[in-house]
Structures are given as C-alpha cells and as structure tokens.
C-alpha cells in the first residue's frame, strides 16, 4: 500500500486534464522513509493520445531537484485519455524499473478520473493499493 497526499493526487489529475486529449506524464519522488513527496508534471515529447515519452532534459532536472532534497525518483505517472487506468502492453514492455511505482490516471470518464497504482516487473503487473490521505508530514 502506498499513501499519496491529496495535493500530489491533485497535481497528477490537473496535469492529466490539462494535457487531454494527449497523454500526460511525470515522475514521482520519495523521501528516504519511502513516503511519496512530489509529483513532477513533465512534457510528453510524443504529444500523443496513445503513447508518451518523458522529455529527457526535464527528467534530469526533476532528478536533481529530488536529490537536493534527499529524495529519489521512485515512480512514474501517466494518463490514459480514453481508456481504463490499467497498464497497457506498451507500458509493460517499456517499464524501466521493477522497483518503481506506476500510477495510471484513467480518463475514460473525464469527469470521474480513476487513479490506480501498479508494480511492473518481469512483464508481470501487480496492483499497488493507493490511499489518498492527508496524514503525511
């Protein structure tokens, strides 16, 4: 189970809505205790409704910001503008790190987005339960 602060959830939802009908994407950073501390909304270089690639120079800037605060990049989030919040075959094929949290924002119903978390390792998908609570420091 992973706790996501409502403000981090909001950042992912706003980015997904702003990028619609294209896929949004970004990175997540966690502190040494494993708490998710930041969502970095980043540019999808593909400007596509079915694929994303995070702009590499923005990736390194997010990494440096996280490192300055003693955090690590521990996950990625992206949206599915027209499909459910579940990793696509492309997501599974290209998943870069088996330790990362993969958050998918599904906008099948744009006014009622669905946000789910997953771990993807060795081609296998396991759902990671997300909680959206304010009890983080």
């Amino acid at each position: 189970m992973t706790a996501i602060h409502p403000q981090i959830l909001e950042a992912m939802l706003v980015h997904a809505d702003n990028c619609h009908p294209e896929e949004s994407c970004g990175l997540l950073a966690s502190d040494p205790a494993g708490a998710v501390r930041m969502a970095y909304p980043l540019t999808n270089t593909l400007r596509s409704s079915t694929n994303y690639t995070i702009e590499p120079r923005e990736h390194v800037k997010a990494l440096r910001h996280a490192e300055r605060l003693g955090w690590e990049i521990t996950g990625v989030f992206h949206s599915h503008p027209h499909t459910q919040a579940y990793p696509s075959p492309t997501d599974v094929q290209l998943a870069p790190d088996p330790e990362w949290l993969y958050v998918v924002v599904g906008l099948e119903n744009r006014s009622h987005p669905v946000v789910r978390g997953f771990r993807i390792a060795g081609g296998r998908i396991e759902e990671e339960t997300l909680t959206f609570e304010r009890n983080q420091t």
Binding site: Y52, P56, V60, P87, L94
Partner: protein
C-alpha cells in the same frame, strides 16, 4: 581524464551494485570503451547494433543531453559527471 558515471537503479546490478563508477576517457565513446573493459555487462546496455546509443537510454554530460551536443563524440572533462537515465516511456 577521470569522470564519474551516475547509474540508475536498474543498471547498478551490472556494476556490482554501485551508484557511481569512476571512468577514464576524453569523449563519451572513450568513456564507454573504458566501461566495457571493467563492466562488460553494463557496456552491453549502452550499445546498439548501429553503434550509436540505444533508443531507450539517455546520456547526460554535466546535465546536458548528449543528443543535443556531439552524441558519443561529446567531450568529457576532468571531473565531469555523466548521468545515464532510462528513457521513461509507455502507452
């Protein structure tokens, strides 16, 4: 020239679990040759059949993306930091 390579978690197992490795070379290509001598498994992850960079690997010298510089011919200075990041992509 001595530089440092920062490795992402996914590649550290090819370098004995190290987060960083020290390398020699005056260009990225020379640095990667040095990597191949000490960490052949890691070097395999940094090579593509056409001799260039793999599509899903991004390389930065002092935080500048080498695709916007001189690619593998990009100069590496003494104490440069080379950062390797996996391309983050999906569908």
């Amino acid at each position: 020239m001595s530089a440092t390579i920062n490795l992402p978690t996914i590649l550290r197992s090819h370098a004995g679990g190290s987060r960083t490795i020290e390398v020699a070379g005056s260009t990225v290509a020379e640095v990667f040759d040095d990597v191949a001598r000490s960490y052949p498994k890691l070097a395999e992850q940094l090579a593509s059949p056409d001799g260039g960079l793999p599509v899903f690997v991004n390389v930065f010298v002092d935080d500048e993306d080498i695709r916007y510089l001189a690619g593998l011919d990009t100069s590496v200075g003494d104490r440069s930091e080379i950062t390797i990041l996996p391309a983050v992509a999906g569908g």
